[in-house]
Symmetry: C2
Subunit: 306 residues, 2 copies
């Protein structure tokens, strides 16, 4: 069982490219189509009805391009619209909230998880609820960090200024450092979290500076990586993997060796990025964020729903 | 979209009951049928051909009982037979290896993961390969701990004798404690793991004593919990959740309130356990392990394949 069709990845803007990057890393045989609704981003300031309609328009476009599964790589859209989107398409539709929440609930030892996200995502309490779904005994501390996205989109991923900002923004979650460099908690909620969930698709790009800030006693889990792992499992369970997908487990040690190359490898994967906004602007922001060229970006116009 | 049919859970013996328990905790609206092939357990001493045939016979039985999805809650069967089992049934078939491996790869900060499992599972290198699939940069240290399963099946989940055994068995993964109680590593592989994956379905019952042994700097991830999280996501994405499944996320805050109770809650879930072995023996081992009664156990005879 295999399926060469591409995976659709949808985001309101460029942040979902971190999810795309993790999908390419985790599942290198898969083809992808990324759709950024940059013309109407960010969704965090939109009403729920708008987010739902915009998301349906975007997924209609991806579905019309014969994708085999869709990843909603937008926290706002996942929080507001995932259930309705799943009902609308006869395709597996995966969000970014639950995979990250499950990974954080599994990683924590002291059952205290911090979540950083945009103000809109924090207001939706999507991560709080999803972590409680996994394990109601986990205490969840959500914290909005609105200053990170502009830094990431400007390509500022390190340096003294960002470092100071990170420590300032995380202080409510981590407390303050004492003379010995340990975090102390002068006031409630005095949660000594041991796991930090990155609940915004931009934040994986800040992982090194966040890891340095929280220290090695705090696990960092990001939704982008967790979603790519869940997607790989979903494709496998549903028989949707691309031809040539490596099966590195002992379950199938000899498959590659006993098949003809054409059966094993299939056609090389293809990757396209579409934006409803300005192609040059998308390219320049994406290139700043990832430090690499994005050659295959095309404009797209979505068919509007009433 | 909802589906009231039960979830099938298969194990060679009683260990998979930890997976069943996590499924009941995570997805309390789901009905289940557990099948333990106790008459032929343990599978670790069987040939690959036997494991495959036994697994097919067991899953044929579950499939004949109209389950909507099957969890192979047996590490040996997952490692040996999962791919062929997936090809045999038009049902989602989930193993226990990849969910645990993905959770461990996400949880580690220093990219050093220890895996404890039975000798057969370690020999298969299923966890090594699955973790490398997630992230090739993670160093994986597999270690067989053959003395744990008999203790668990005897209902010995704590106490001085077990504590001493645990420290002895884990020494190759953790090193030895110095005067300050920190682990030191006198010899290679001197891996200071920060994540310990429980790669045997019996081991979650040892979690408290294992957690005390490894200390609070080491995250403990177990495949049973990880598999229940992955199953919940799979049911949701595939529209297979039981009627009345709580959707606690902000995506759907009002669904329960706006639906009629009969639509929301459906019939109460049912749970059956089947064993190919002795019912009284199954009951007594399961009751010792979990400290609770297992009233609904029935014998089953599997139809043999050629």
């Amino acid at each position: 069982m295999s399926d060469p069709r591409p995976i659709g990845v949808f985001d309101s803007g460029v942040g979902g490219l971190t999810v795309l990057r993790e999908i390419l890393r985790r599942s290198p045989h898969e083809s992808t189509i990324y759709l950024g609704d940059n013309a109407r981003a960010p969704y965090g300031v939109r009403t729920d009805a708008e987010v739902l309609r915009f998301s349906m328009e975007a997924l209609d476009e991806l579905a019309s391009r014969d994708v085999k599964a869709i990843v909603v790589a937008c926290n706002t859209s996942t929080a507001v619209a995932l259930r309705q989107l799943r009902a609308r398409y006869a395709l597996p539709v995966l969000g970014v909230v639950r995979p990250g929440a499950a990974a954080a609930a599994l990683a924590t030892r002291n059952r205290r998880v911090g979540v950083i996200a945009t103000p809109a995502t924090v207001r939706s309490h999507a991560y709080f609820n999803a972590i409680k779904d996994e394990n109601p005994a986990v205490e969840v501390y959500e914290h909005a960090t609105p200053r990170f996205v502009p830094m990431v989109e400007a390509g500022i991923l390190g340096g003294d200024e960002l470092e100071a900002m990170v420590l300032e923004e995380l202080a409510p979650l981590l407390g303050e450092r004492d003379g010995a460099g340990e975090f102390v908690f002068p006031r409630p909620p005095s949660a000594k979290i041991d796991t930090l969930l990155l609940g915004c698709t931009h934040y994986p790009l800040l992982r090194p500076i966040l890891a340095a800030a929280v220290g090695d006693r705090v696990a960092i889990v990001d939704s982008a990586t967790a979603t790519s792992a869940t997607l790989a499992e979903l494709l496998s369970v549903n028989g949707l993997e691309a031809p040539g997908t490596t099966r590195g487990t002992a379950a199938d040690p000899g498959a590659a060796g006993h098949s003809r190359p054409s059966e094993v490898y299939g056609a090389p994967p293809t990757h396209r990025q579409l934006t409803t906004g300005d192609v040059a602007l998308f390219r320049s922001i994406a290139s700043r964020m990832f430090g690499e060229a994005f050659p295959d970006i095309d404009p797209v116009t979505l068919r509007e729903l009433d």
